[in-house]
Symmetry: C2
Subunit: 197 residues, 2 copies
C-alpha cells in the first residue's frame, strides 16, 4: 500500500531552513478515519496565534465534518475535480476574512492576515501528520449565498483536512501528480533594493 509520506520528497533547499517547511505539501490522498473535531481544534489553535494588523484577527472558519448534516452543503461548493478526491476528507472548511475592523473601517490587510492564519493551520497539520489542502476550485458566490456570508466578509479559500489516505484510491490522473511540487528560486521573488531593471 502506497502512503503519501513514503514518497521521497525531492525538494531541495537553497538556504538553511527548518524541515517542516519543506516537508509540508498538499496531498490529495486524504482520509476521514480517526479524524475528529478535536484534531481540527488543534489546527484552529495554531491559526489563533497568527499576527494581524492591530490584532484584529480577521480570519473566520466555517466547517463541516464528513458525515454530519452540513457536509453535503460544503461538499457541493467544490468543483468537480476537487470533489473527486475531497469526498474522503475528514472536514471541509470555508475560509473567510472580515474586511472591516471593530469600528467598521476597512482593514486593508484582512486577506493577507487570513492567509497567514491558514499557513499556521497548515504547518500544525503537517506537524501532526494530517493532510491540509487549500483550494480555490469552488464556487465563491455560491459559498457566500448558501452560507449567508455578509458583505463585510470576503470568501478566501476552501480547505480539505484529514488523515493520510491511500494513493491507490485516487483517480489515475491524480496519482501521477501526488508528489510535492517545485518552487521558484529565492532570487526570483526576493530583491535587494528594489525590482531588478
Amino acid at each position: 500500500m502506497t502512503k503519501p509520506y513514503d514518497l521521497k520528497n525531492e525538494r531541495k533547499s537553497e538556504h538553511d531552513v527548518d524541515e517542516i517547511f519543506i516537508k509540508r505539501w498538499s496531498p490529495r490522498a486524504i482520509g476521514k478515519k480517526d479524524f475528529t473535531e478535536d484534531d481540527l481544534a488543534s489546527l484552529f489553535e495554531a491559526a489563533r496565534w497568527t499576527p494581524s494588523s492591530f490584532n484584529v484577527q480577521p480570519w473566520r472558519f466555517l466547517y463541516a465534518m464528513n458525515g454530519d448534516e452540513n457536509w453535503s452543503t460544503f461538499f457541493g461548493l467544490l468543483g468537480e475535480f476537487n470533489q473527486m478526491w475531497a469526498k474522503d476528507a475528514g472536514a471541509l472548511i470555508v475560509v473567510l476574512s472580515k474586511k472591516t475592523n471593530d469600528e467598521g473601517k476597512p482593514n486593508v490587510t484582512s486577506s493577507f492576515d487570513t492567509g497567514s492564519a491558514w499557513m499556521s493551520f497548515a504547518l500544525q497539520a503537517r506537524m501532526k501528520n494530517f493532510i491540509a489542502h487549500g483550494m480555490a476550485g469552488f464556487d465563491y458566490e455560491k459559498a457566500r449565498k448558501i452560507l449567508n456570508v455578509q458583505d463585510d466578509y470576503n470568501v478566501e479559500a476552501m480547505l480539505a483536512i484529514g488523515t493520510q489516505g491511500d494513493v491507490e484510491d485516487l483517480h489515475e490522473r491524480m496519482q501521477k501528480s501526488e508528489k510535492p511540487n517545485e518552487r521558484k528560486h529565492v532570487k526570483e521573488f526576493a530583491f535587494r533594493g528594489g525590482f531588478p531593471n
Copy 2:
C-alpha cells in the same frame, strides 16, 4: 539587561498545539547586530515553500539591509511610530503580491497566498530567535511610487527583521507594550456548519 525572550509568555492555549505558534510574537526590541543577508535568505527559503493557488507563488519581497544605500528609502516609508523602534532593525522589507497569474489573468488568492508566505517567514524567524514584526503603519502609495511597483502588484505589508534587541532601549511607551498579546477564543472564529444565528 532585560531581553524580550526572558519575558514570561503568559499565553495559554485551549487545544493541543506546537509551542512555536504560541512563542512567536511581534517584539519591537530589535537589533541589527550580527544580522546578515544570509540570515534573511533562510527566512525567504521558508516563505518559498508556501502553498499557493495553482502554485503561482505571487509573493515578492523588496528589502534593504540596515546601513546599505537603500535603507533610507525603505525607512522613510514607515510611519513615525514604527520609525521609533524599527530604526535598529537589521532589514526592512516591503511585501508585494502579484495580482495576475502567468497568463495575465486575475489571481484572486494573491493577497491570501502572500500572507501565507509571510507566516512561514515569521515562524522560521522565531525558530532562529530572530525578530520579525509585520507592519501596516507605512505609506502604501509612496512605497508603490518610490519602489516603482507596477499596477499588477499589490503592496501588502512591511516587515522589520533583526536580532533580539534590548527592551530598555525602547521608548517608555513601547516598553510597556513589549509583551505577547492575546487572541480571541477558537469558538469566536471557527464555526461548525455556518455562522451562529
